[in-house]
């Protein structure tokens, strides 16, 4: 909502200066976005200096000028003026400027093969004189230190731009703003002058509002003005319209716009001679069409509120008029409309047709239904004053009567909500100045809500009115209440926190990527999940919710590889979507690691990242988050985007059916499809929601501390075993020989090839044996060794290597 201070003073007697007004507006909830002169087409013309003028290589009469326009670099302009010379101060118009003389918009252009960025202007081009022989020569003493500044002073009045919240339609008119300011003590609201308008004759175009279920219009007021002379608006009116950032059109249109911004009362003027007999306000039928004042043809759906005559639709009520009945300079007789349209109907129609107009913006927020006559009178007076003519009696048709809103307000609610007290006297004063009718009944106020405040329906709305006018600075600042109702974080929130930082501590950079992704990449990772499309995506390559974090991670991995990074470790913790209903999402960690380990190290051998790098990262992170490493079980079943032979699943314990994490190399087909160029690429993922909550807190779950001081012994074994036999099983077989004595089993060598039969491998393990009761003697140890060998051989088909 834009207006000038002058305009405000038409409605407000105030001693406040501009800054006080600006502050007051913000303090009562009418936020000031800006307070500056409205932009002018002349703002682009700036003072410039020719640094160097040389002859155009392809045209003797033209010059090529390096021009200083006040920025870092000079600009090259082709100029035909004979007086263009080094050191001349003149006026420069950059591309995009509109030359006043011919209203041409400048663009970057090639003149005889040389590009010219803008133009140096003559006085005649700027309409300063008829001098067109050369470019303007500015005086050195006046302009030498003004290079880069605007040549034309912007003399237009400063405009206040308010951001009006959707609950305040009344402040979409200057009078409403003045009323709020007056309630807040910034002045006195001026009383509207009584009209002494003389009416002659009746409004003889019959108006009918059809009683239909979907009727969007409840009141239609109108009057006829005969014998007008439409013309350009007078200067004062043009200036008002321009200050709104709009273009003056003609007196009649400008007046209806002026009244809309002045009183928040939209009006519409029809050329009465173009109306076919009568006005019918009705609901549209599907397929009807009309050409609107924005020069677009609209095809209507059922149940849109239209103003029509016998020939068809004239316009969409409260939204936009039609060209068929539009006013022109030649218009002699006009029908002026001032109506009430239901916000719901306006909103629905404008959404369906995608139209946004100033009238629509106001009607959908709720116009004062009792302002019908006021609007007609104010506009008619101005039309008569500027365009002449005779005004008929006002004709107001209604199918519904306005019902007052009455609120019984207990002032205690104010104190209870805001924490401070306002005396009843002041409270009444504020409400009355806002237009409420206040009567007191014991402790309760009976309030009649002003008709221009559709937003006020209940007591809490009254609290808001009083506190915002009184000022939020009166609210006390209470010390925060520290009472705690429950722990800050629950188990899964803590897990999130732990795992996020555990993974990062393994050298991964955390990133945050969109929750949406490209369906083409997503489908490589979605497995059996449904694809979740966004109906209105921001772009076609962000058109689905991600089923996995990897599509985005790999997309950005590639971008970083393209930036020249070789060794990249990235992860994200966030949602992966499994369905389109609320809650069909899992919190997961996805991580990628590309390139080499120990690249360019002077002492370590560099190698390509492999599955065991990420296996370490994933297992260590899980352990740090509180999962017992001894319980963890690994298998080789993984989603299809993993390398089928070089990836594994991680289970919280041997009874779990679902993996809580996966790790390994990514499938080579995917690397190829995504065209990722790197020496090595491994990934891992952890599903936080798949981790089973340990109910016990650590203080209750720590087992008794036991240790043994008896001597421990280490024995090494090497077995020849089937190539596909998993080392994890071998370790389990050995451990199960004697869970008490065998403290640990470590695989320290795996070997295939030379000396090993085809289809077999050699696994060497180191077993630590220790008793909690005694020092084991050679005999005891021998027995265990034998037991280990025989168990392994019988259970796995392995042979001990001799």
């Amino acid at each position: 909502m834009k207006f000038t201070v002058d305009w405000l003073k038409n409605h407000l007697d105030t001693k406040f200066n501009n800054n006080q007004i600006i502050d007051k507006l913000t303090n009562i909830g009418l936020e000031v976005e800006s307070f500056e002169s409205s932009t002018s087409e002349l703002d682009t013309f700036i003072v410039a200096k020719i640094i160097n003028a040389k002859t155009h290589p392809n045209a003797d009469r033209l010059k090529l000028c390096d021009v200083d326009v006040g920025s870092d670099k000079t600009i090259e302009v082709v100029c035909g003026a004979p007086n263009a010379k080094n050191g001349l101060l003149t006026v420069y118009a950059p591309p995009g400027s509109i030359i006043p003389k011919n209203q041409m918009k400048l663009s970057v252009s090639k003149i005889r093969g040389v590009t010219s960025y803008g133009m140096l202007c003559s006085e005649s081009e700027l309409l300063l004189s008829n001098e067109s022989d050369g470019i303007i020569e500015l005086k050195n003493n006046k302009y030498a230190n003004k290079i880069g500044e605007k040549y034309f002073k912007n003399t237009s009045e400063k405009v206040i731009d308010l951001s009006i919240t959707p609950n305040r339609p009344d402040c979409l008119g200057v009078r409403g703003i003045a009323r709020d300011l007056s309630a807040a003590g910034a002045g006195k609201l001026k009383i509207n002058k009584k009209s002494n308008l003389k009416y002659r004759g009746n409004q003889n175009i019959n108006v009918t509002i059809k009683k239909e279920k979907a009727q969007g219009c409840t009141i239609f007021g109108s009057c006829l003005i005969k014998g007008v002379t439409n013309k350009e608006s007078p200067k004062w009116l043009k200036d008002k319209i321009k200050s709104l950032g709009q273009k003056p059109i003609s007196a009649i249109v400008d007046i209806t716009n002026y009244v809309m911004f002045d009183l928040n009362r939209p009006l519409h003027a029809y050329d009465a001679d173009k109306i076919d007999n009568e006005i019918i306000v009705r609901s549209s039928s599907k397929g009807e069409s009309f050409e609107a004042l924005d020069n677009k043809k609209y095809i209507l759906e059922n149940d849109m509120c239209v103003i029509s005559d016998r020939s068809g639709v004239l316009g969409l009520g409260g939204i936009i008029g039609g060209t068929r009945s539009g006013t022109e300079y030649s218009t002699k007789n006009i029908l002026l409309e001032s109506a009430y349209f239901l916000p719901r109907s306006i909103r629905k129609t404008s959404k369906q047709l995608n139209i946004d107009t100033d009238a629509k913006f106001r009607f959908e927020r709720g116009i004062d239904p009792l302002s019908i006559e006021e609007g007609l009178i104010k506009a008619s007076e101005l039309i008569k004053q500027i365009c002449g003519g005779e005004i008929s009696n006002l004709d107001v048709k209604k199918i519904d009567n306005y019902k007052k809103t009455i609120i019984n307000f207990d002032p205690f609610l104010f104190e209870k909500t805001t924490g401070f007290i306002v005396e009843n006297k002041e409270l009444i004063k504020i409400l009355e100045k806002l237009g409420f009718n206040v009567t007191k009944n014991k402790k309760i106020f009976k309030l009649v809500v002003p008709s221009w405040r559709p937003d006020i329906t209940q007591s809490i709305d009254i609290v808001e009115e009083i506190v915002r006018i009184k000022g939020y600075e009166h609210i006390n600042t209470s010390e925060p209440i520290k009472t705690r109702l429950k722990p800050t974080l629950n188990y899964y929130q803590k897990l999130f926190h732990f795992l996020q930082r555990s993974v990062a501590s393994k050298g991964y950079l955390e990133t945050v990527t969109w929750s949406f992704t490209d369906s083409k990449i997503n489908q490589l990772f979605k497995e059996n999940d449904e694809e979740i499309s966004i109906v209105n995506p921001i772009s076609s390559d962000l058109n689905v919710l991600r089923n996995s974090i990897f599509p985005n991670l790999l997309f950005y991995l590639k971008k970083n590889l393209d930036r020249g990074f070789k060794d990249i470790s990235l992860f994200e913790i966030g949602p992966a979507f499994k369905g389109k209903n609320p809650g069909d999402q899992l919190t997961v960690i996805g991580a990628v690691k590309a390139g080499k380990v120990s690249r360019l190290s002077w002492n370590d051998k560099e190698r390509i990242v492999d599955a065991f790098d990420v296996k370490k990262d994933v297992i260590q992170s899980l352990c740090e988050a509180g999962i017992d490493k001894d319980d963890i079980v690994i298998d080789d079943k993984t989603p299809s985007y993993y390398h089928p032979g070089k990836s594994g699943g991680v289970y919280q314990n041997k009874n779990e059916k679902n993996a809580l994490a996966y790790f390994g190399e990514i499938h080579p087909n995917i690397i190829k499809k995504l065209d990722i160029k790197t020496e090595g690429l491994v990934i891992f993922e952890i599903c936080l929601d798949c981790i089973k909550e340990t109910k016990q807190k650590i203080k209750d779950s720590k087992s008794e501390y036991k240790f043994s001081d008896f001597q421990k012994s280490e024995r090494d074994f090497a077995f020849i075993i089937n190539k596909n036999f998993k080392s994890q099983e071998l370790v389990n077989i050995i451990k199960s020989v004697d869970n008490k004595l065998i403290k640990s089993v470590r695989v320290f060598d795996v070997f295939e090839g030379e000396n090993i039969p085809k289809g077999k491998k050699s696994i060497a393990v180191n077993v630590t044996i220790q008793s909690e009761e005694k020092t084991l003697n050679e005999n005891d140890l021998d027995n265990i060794n034998k037991l280990i060998i025989s168990s392994v051989e019988s259970k796995s088909g392995a042979k001990i290597r001799s």
């Binding site: 913000t26 909830g29 936020e31 919240t165 959707p166 305040r168 719901r344 909103r347 209870k416 909500t417 805001t418 924490g419 401070f420 809490i460 808001e464 506190v467 915002r468 609210i475 600042t477 209470s478 010390e479 520290k482 009472t483 109702l485 429950k486 800050t488 974080l489 929130q493 996020q500 930082r501 990062a504 393994k506 050298g507 950079l509 955390e510 990133t511 945050v512 969109w514 929750s515 949406f516 966004i534 109906v535 209105n536 921001i538 919710l545 990249i568 990235l570 949602p575 979507f577 389109k580 209903n581 609320p582 809650g583 069909d584 999402q585 120990s598 190290s601 002077w602 002492n603 370590d604």
Partner: protein, 355 residues
């Protein structure tokens, strides 16, 4: 006697010039071995007279001590020398680089969420969450924003179906609805998370982060709201004083509503929070609207309280001098390394919010 003394002097001389540890050991056994010179002299003591024996024994013992002492000093001397020599050869260039350090980082958004959670935890708030996909009711209708409300225009919404029933939440406020529907008052929660709006330009991203706050109890008023936010802002920006302004505004789900501005100024091209005469809007808040409380089965005549919503990304930008919102989500390795936080730098009250 003079013989022994001579032997002693000879050996002392020998030892003085000897630098080989083996040779010193040889001398030791020459003197003190089974048939060593000194050992033999002691053996002779048995065959001489008592007086002589006394004298000789004493002399012998002195000589023995002196020689043994000399030998052990010599051994130590040589060993020290040898070690020093060895150490000199073993010297490495410690300025050569260490093994590769792999430095991970926490994203600024995560760090700021942890900072916010830590601050609110101090004054008794717990953390709630809600899904990213919401239904129309929780995101709008329950929050007193019915379908025909113009306030919906301020939320450019991503939809998942043509009936506009399922959507990506446009704010974290639906967590209020979920929290109150599933529990009984009092409520005291914050809810950080991802939010989505379908606009994208220099200052808007289609996805961003908010933290919702909700405190409902019997006597919570706007003074408590002011106090809570005043505390939060001061703690968050780690300044003693903060210029703050509550300004009336409108949100369908709070009444009265406010926007909060903080004072700032630009010093040497950097934004300084808490001083100056410029205002920066940082959050929206208000008293929860009675209609919202009714929608979640909380009796508004018994319970009341406040709610607020803060843009997390924006707070992070202000605190850590980040200019471009879009960069948060572009996964540029350089940006992540530059603005990321050390994973051990966990915001906490006792250790300080940030380093």
């Amino acid at each position: 006697m003079s013989d022994i003394k001579k032997i002693k002097d000879d050996y002392i001389d020998k030892l003085n010039t000897e630098n080989n540890i083996e040779k010193v050991n040889n001398i030791k056994s020459e003197l003190f071995g089974k048939n060593g010179i000194i050992s033999n002299e002691f053996k002779k003591l048995g065959s001489i007279s008592v007086e002589e024996r006394k004298k000789l024994a004493s002399d012998l013992n002195n000589i023995k001590d002196e020689l043994q002492n000399k030998i052990s000093i010599k051994i130590q001397e040589i060993e020290t020398k040898e070690i020093n020599l060895k150490l000199e050869k073993e010297k490495i260039d410690v300025t050569l680089p260490e093994r590769n350090i792999e430095i991970g980082k926490i994203h600024p958004v995560s760090q700021v969420i942890d900072e916010i959670s830590s601050i609110f935890s101090e004054i008794g708030f717990s953390v709630e969450e809600g899904p990213d996909v919401e239904n129309e009711y929780n995101n709008f209708t329950a929050l007193n924003t019915p379908d025909n409300h113009p306030a919906r225009d301020m939320h450019d919404t991503f939809y998942l179906d043509n009936n506009k029933e399922l959507l990506l939440r446009t704010h974290t406020s639906p967590v209020q609805v979920r929290t109150m529907l599933k529990g009984k008052p009092p409520f005291k929660i914050i809810a950080p998370g991802r939010t989505y709006r379908s606009d994208s330009d220099q200052t808007h991203a289609p996805m961003f982060h908010q933290v919702e706050g909700l405190h409902i109890d019997k006597n919570i008023n706007m003074g408590h709201l002011k106090g809570c936010l005043n505390y939060f802002i001061k703690e968050f920006f780690e300044v003693d004083k903060i210029k703050m302004r509550f300004r009336p505004s409108h949100f369908p789900f709070t009444e009265p509503s406010a926007e909060v501005d903080i004072g700032y100024e630009i010093k040497n091209g950097k934004i300084v929070i808490g001083e100056g005469n410029k205002w920066l809007e940082i959050l929206g808040c208000g008293m929860v609207h009675p209609n919202v409380l009714k929608n979640v089965n909380v009796n508004p005549s018994k319970y009341q309280g406040y709610a607020f919503g803060i843009g997390i990304d924006r707070l992070g930008m202000l605190k850590y001098g980040i200019n471009d919102l879009r960069a948060f989500f572009e996964t540029d390795y350089r940006w992540l390394s530059h603005f990321g936080f050390d994973p051990l730098d966990v915001p906490s009250n006792y250790r300080g919010l940030s380093r």
